[in-house]
């Protein structure tokens, strides 16, 4: 509706009525109600706050965040950055945050992969495949995550000891001390190759943009994959070869009562990751299924009628439309996974909740400890939301 069709009398704003000091005036009622509600909530908060201040004084509990710079003295088994019990609480809490991120990021990636596979499997024409996927989704979503985590942890503890470790292939050990994998000994050449890979990805992206622009100009599609392979795979390999191609594998081996060398995954981390991934994948599977079903069958048919191949139909027509339905609920599933990683405290994985909990028990400063937990999760939640909202806006339907 354009402006021309609107009656000019309605274009003016209605004249502002003077405020009458009467209960019959809607605006007066609104102001009174707001003042009442704010006063009640403010009163409750003030009451709780004054009680707290009084209690803290009576119980001689210190306040403030000064304790962050004191020696923590709490041992942490798993740390991404170097850490000793003699380090400060601040460093201990940082280790906790990194441990949370370690499980959350890996969990989100794996849960997305597993969830997508299960979601597509539920739509499979094969009766067995779709029924198994349906059974998995139904059962996994109806059991509390905490129960599943305890179950997996019990299973981990039930594995044989290091000496009788389950040993399916050379360098692979599964025992109640965790998993061991062979690892690459990291050297400067590997870092250089990784950097080359990043540079290659950026160059590929630039090349794809140029190719797309040229296609828009003359209508000729250009192949991107040869350049992508050369830049993303070829360039790092060339750099690695140029630097002498170092290649030393660190094999795990049994020394005494435990393993040495290789990459280690603790039973706590493994149980937490398996539990979080299988649980969240059940929810993601439903999201993916709903997203794919939301694309009208006519879209497939129309795309095939245009002569697009199956892969192109999926990539250019179906996925962009399905993603619009998938992204918002996917975001909340990612947030849930991150928040659920706090259940680590029940099985002894030292994430931020576990370390902050130990900190508040040692220092007695409950308010600061819980404030730190909440702050960390609010920051993580907000970051994921912002990123996913940006992505969602990017793929949203562009309408007139």
């Amino acid at each position: 509706m354009s402006d021309a069709t609107v009656d000019p009398r309605f274009r003016r704003k209605p004249p502002k009525r003077p405020l009458r000091l009467s209960w019959a005036d809607e605006r007066v009622r609104g102001i009174v109600w707001q003042v009442v509600v704010v006063a009640i909530i403010g009163g409750i908060i003030y009451w709780l706050w004054s009680n707290t201040v009084h209690n803290l004084e009576v119980r001689r509990i210190a306040t403030g965040f000064g304790f962050l710079w004191r020696e923590a003295g709490l041992p942490i088994a798993e740390h991404v950055i170097p850490y000793e019990p003699t380090d400060t609480y601040f460093r201990a809490l940082t280790v906790g945050v990194l441990n949370t991120l370690k499980v959350a990021v890996v969990g989100i990636v794996l849960a997305t992969i597993l969830g997508t596979v299960v979601g597509i499997a539920r739509l499979s024409k094969n009766f067995l495949v779709s029924k198994i996927a349906g059974f998995y989704v139904e059962v996994i979503r109806d059991l509390p995550l905490l129960l599943q985590l305890l179950f997996w942890y019990t299973v981990m503890q039930g594995l044989p000891g290091p000496r009788q470790a389950f040993h399916p292939a050379e360098g692979l050990y599964f025992s109640n001390r965790g998993f061991r994998f062979p690892a690459l000994e990291w050297e400067g050449a590997h870092t250089a190759a990784l950097a080359a890979c990043v540079v290659g990805t950026v160059l590929t992206w630039l090349y794809a943009r140029v190719a797309r622009a040229k296609q828009m100009a003359d209508g000729q599609p250009r192949k991107i994959w040869p350049a992508a392979i050369a830049l993303i795979l070829g360039l790092p390999i060339f750099v690695w070869l140029a630097l002498g191609a170092p290649w030393t594998i660190d094999w795990p081996a049994l020394r005494g009562f435990n393993f040495r060398g290789g990459m280690a995954v603790s039973p706590e981390y493994a149980a937490l990751l398996i539990g979080l991934v299988t649980y969240t994948a059940g929810f993601i599977a439903e999201v993916v299924r709903a997203g794919i079903l939301s694309v009208n069958q006519g879209q497939w048919e129309a795309a095939q009628a245009l002569g697009l191949r199956h892969g192109s139909v999926l990539r250019l027509i179906v996925l962009p439309q399905a993603l619009r339905v998938i992204i918002p609920p996917m975001t909340s599933n990612y947030l849930n996974l991150t928040k659920n990683s706090s259940l680590a405290v029940a099985i002894g994985y030292q994430d931020i909740v576990s370390i902050a909990n130990t900190t508040l028990n040692q220092t007695g400063q409950a308010i600061e400890g819980i404030a730190i937990i909440m702050l960390v999760y609010l920051t993580i939640s907000l970051s994921i939301s912002l990123f996913m909202n940006w992505y969602n806006a990017k793929i949203a339907l562009v309408e007139r």
Binding site: W33, K125, L147
Partner: protein, 380 residues
């Protein structure tokens, strides 16, 4: 066309053709759903093999090699050596046989276990009555009040000749059901108020509701439970103390309220604007409009997601394990602390999991049925 080909044999080939492939019947079903191509056939065969292997393994473990009871030593300690000798080849259901009363009812006095048992049945009856659409009106309110009072009397006792049982001795399934039921009974009205507040035109109320919802949804439930268990005592004046279960209950109500509020808000937003305008045009006040026109329609729209959220909270009550409240999962975990039963966690968690599964599966099926029924008018 068919007449011509039938009457004029070309090239003299009049050999009878094979009958067309069946498109109905069990063989056609098998061909369409299990063996539609070489890939599908391979997947079917592989999965079929794995399923048979898994089923045989589970039946062996859970039934054939399982041990259902173990003798007690004269001192009353269970002799679990026979279970340990199995070395995982069979389940040791003896732990469930021995400990099921403890897992279900916790440390409640043994000879009074019939009381929490009746409480559980009352809760289940309450859920069934609430699920029936016939009762979706004001009669539900007295039903809930009467049942919850009866539950309180049964659990505490002290009247009608029932011995008094302090709240510290409650445990197991009744605690889970109490946390879930009372949590939802209080969180649901709270969530409606918050959802209305979030859509209110009054800025102060809107801001309060937005801050509440976003703050609670941004942090994990555990942090709220920790807050309830270690921070809450600091909030209260000296000498005043609320017991731990009630504090956890408050945390669960606040948590559930924020999530339910978002679901209810979805219903409020989905309602066409004309309904609001029509109610205004009738001259209804805000509360008349909300209570008589908006909420009945908006809530009906969101019943399926509401039930899904309820399932989530039923599962989330298990988190009270972390602050040491004796619910079903905590009771299960405690049952295997005893040295005799250490290492039989899998059996216990399977038992506890089956109980959760029964409740959640029933709710989930109910929600699906309801969704289909409420959407019947949309189907052509």
């Amino acid at each position: 066309m068919s007449d011509i080909t039938a009457n004029t044999p070309i090239h003299g080939s009049s050999a009878p053709r094979d009958a067309p492939m069946a498109t109905t019947g069990p063989i056609a079903w098998l061909r369409a759903n299990l063996f539609s191509g070489w890939l599908s056939t391979a997947v079917t065969l592989l999965l079929g093999y794995l399923i048979v292997r898994a089923v045989v393994g589970i039946v062996d473990w859970a039934f054939i090699n399982a041990i259902w009871s173990v003798p007690l030593s004269p001192t009353g300690v269970a002799q679990t050596q026979v279970c340990r000798d199995l070395q995982g080849a069979g389940a040791c259901w003896a732990v469930v046989t021995e400990k099921h009363r403890f897992m279900l009812f916790g440390t409640y006095p043994y000879e009074q276990h019939w009381r929490p048992a009746i409480v559980c049945l009352l809760f289940i009856g309450l859920y069934i009555v609430s699920a029936m659409r016939r009762f979706w009106n004001w009669t539900l309110v007295p039903i809930w009040i009467v049942t919850l009072t009866a539950i309180g009397i049964l659990m505490w006792g002290g009247v009608l000749g029932l011995p008094y049982v302090p709240q510290e001795r409650w445990g197991g399934l009744p605690i889970t059901l109490i946390l879930a039921t009372f949590g939802l009974a209080f969180a649901f009205p709270l969530s409606i108020l918050v959802a209305l507040g979030r859509r209110s035109s009054l800025p102060a109320i809107k801001v309060l509701c937005v801050v509440y919802v976003e703050l609670i949804r941004g942090v994990p439930l555990i942090s709220l439970l920790f807050m309830a268990s270690v921070m809450f005592p600091l909030f209260l004046p000296e000498g005043m103390n609320i017991d731990k279960l009630l504090r956890a209950q408050i945390a669960i109500i606040l948590f559930a309220g924020a999530y339910l509020a978002e679901v209810v808000r979805g219903g409020l937003q989905a309602l066409p604007k004309g309904q609001y305008e029509a109610a205004d045009a009738m001259g209804l006040s805000y509360w008349q409009k909300t209570g008589l026109i908006i909420l009945p329609q908006a809530l009906r729209l969101v019943i399926p997601p509401l039930v899904n959220t309820f399932i989530g909270f039923f599962k989330d009550t298990s988190l009270v394990l972390i602050i040491g409240i004796f619910d079903l999962l905590t009771a299960g975990k405690t049952a295997i602390v005893e040295p005799a039963w250490q290492g039989f966690g899998v059996e216990v968690y399977v038992f506890v999991g089956l109980i959760y599964l029964c409740f959640c599966f029933a709710m989930s099926k109910y929600s699906q049925g309801l969704e289909a029924e409420l959407n019947r008018h949309r189907r052509r």
